[in-house]
Amino acid sequence: MEEKVNRQTILRLIKALNDEEELSVISKIISTDPALTAKLLKFVNSAYFSLKREIDSIEDAVAYLGYRKLREVAFSILLSSILVNKPKEEILKLLTFAYIMKLTAQRSVPELTEEAFMVGILWPIYKENKEETLKMLKEANVSKVVIDGLKDPKSPLGVLRVFAEKLLPYCEKLNNKEAVEIPVKTEKFKKEFLINICLSASLEAEKIIDLL
């Protein structure tokens, strides 16, 4: 059986990435957890990247991915470590939701794209245990705009979250090749954009699910 990633290590890693710490610091944090180290090396050496040579050092793996992609991966691992008993399909659905947030933000609030993904990933965890999640996020130095996105539906990312929640069921039907009329009407987004979001979010989620 695969060894579990230590949640504290993931939180420390997210904090270090948020603080834009030096590569040596990031690599050191990852190296303290053999399960996390193994997951990351497996990920960068997977067919997804089809590298010509094997990457066998953590520093090289971090540099290969870059901080933004690594943070996305770290949040996804955090999600699966917390919702450990949920079936794969459920995790895939939650990841799709996070990518809907990210891709929608890219168009509507591009400066908050990464934060939107974080809100998407954290939302199911927050719903299950609000106080503990907030405490955890404070420890990980997660920005106020993300916390507001979880707590306040009227905040910029809160508005997007509510929107993504309405869109998700239609995306699921669309991805199952069911003919649906997307009913979400906003001035900001055209129907074709939303269809594209649904399809792209599902593709992105599928790419990352095997890592978890």
Binding site: L51, A63, N196, S200
Partner: protein
């Protein structure tokens, strides 16, 4: 920022106009494609102080909105990641061939490359990155002709990209020609006029084509200001 350069009184605009060493860019692309070790990548970049300065300027631009300044090449590579760095170096390489091109022209090239990537994502997802390379390098091919083959072989670029540039019947070659056609008829397509689409693109819905075009335009627009 390259401290030596600034100590000599160099300014940001001077950095932009500095000549980049094409050989170094080609070696760098090869190393990134091969997934070479970080230290090796940093060593190659450091062979050209102008490239180092450009990279540090780019990474510290508002495009990334960093909380603190990145001063080392190693840190800049790690923050960007190999894929983004490769995309960036390809833009620099193409710009080095098109010295007289203005920002608007470079933006059009970027739009074309991003559109290639967006459409390949739907048609040939396994060649998404290579489609971007074909798009960004096409103006270089138009300028230097078949000589581009030697250049790209030196950079270790895959045959899929080389054929995509030189053979209109290859997978990416066909996509490239069709994307050129799409760019010409896009306005009509957006207006809802009846447009005859070429075979590959007709596999996609009108909505997908419009959306891909808008995304490509947005990406090009946001990147161009910080190059």
């Amino acid at each position: 920022m390259n401290p030596e350069f600034l100590a000599k009184g160099g300014s940001m605009s001077e950095i932009e106009s500095l000549e980049l060493k094409r050989e170094v860019m080609l070696r760098l692309i090869r190393a990134l494609l091969d997934g070479e070790e970080l230290e090796e990548i940093a060593k190659i970049i450091s062979m050209d102080p102008n490239l180092s300065a450009r990279l540090l300027k780019f990474i510290n631009s508002p495009y990334f909105g960093l909380r603190r300044e990145i001063k080392s090449i190693i840190q800049a590579i790690a923050y960007l990641g190999y894929r983004n760095l490769k995309d960036y170096v390809f833009v620099l390489l193409t710009s080095s061939f098109l010295k007289s091109a203005n920002k608007e022209e470079i933006k059009e090239i970027l739009k074309f490359a991003f559109l290639m990537r967006e459409l390949a994502k739907r048609l040939f997802p396994e060649h998404e990155d290579e489609a971007y390379m074909v798009g960004i390098l096409e103006p270089v091919r138009e300028k230097v002709g078949d000589e581009i083959k030697e250049l790209l072989e030196k950079a270790g670029v895959s045959e899929t990209v080389i054929y995509g540039l030189l053979d209109p019947e290859s997978k990416l070659g066909r996509l490239k020609e069709e994307v050129k056609q799409l760019m010409k008829v896009y306005d009509k397509l957006e207006k809802g006029d009846n447009v005859q689409l070429p075979p590959l693109l007709s596999q996609l819905s009108k909505e997908e084509l419009i959306e891909s075009y808008i995304l490509a335009e947005d990406n090009a627009q946001s990147l161009i200001s910080y190059l």
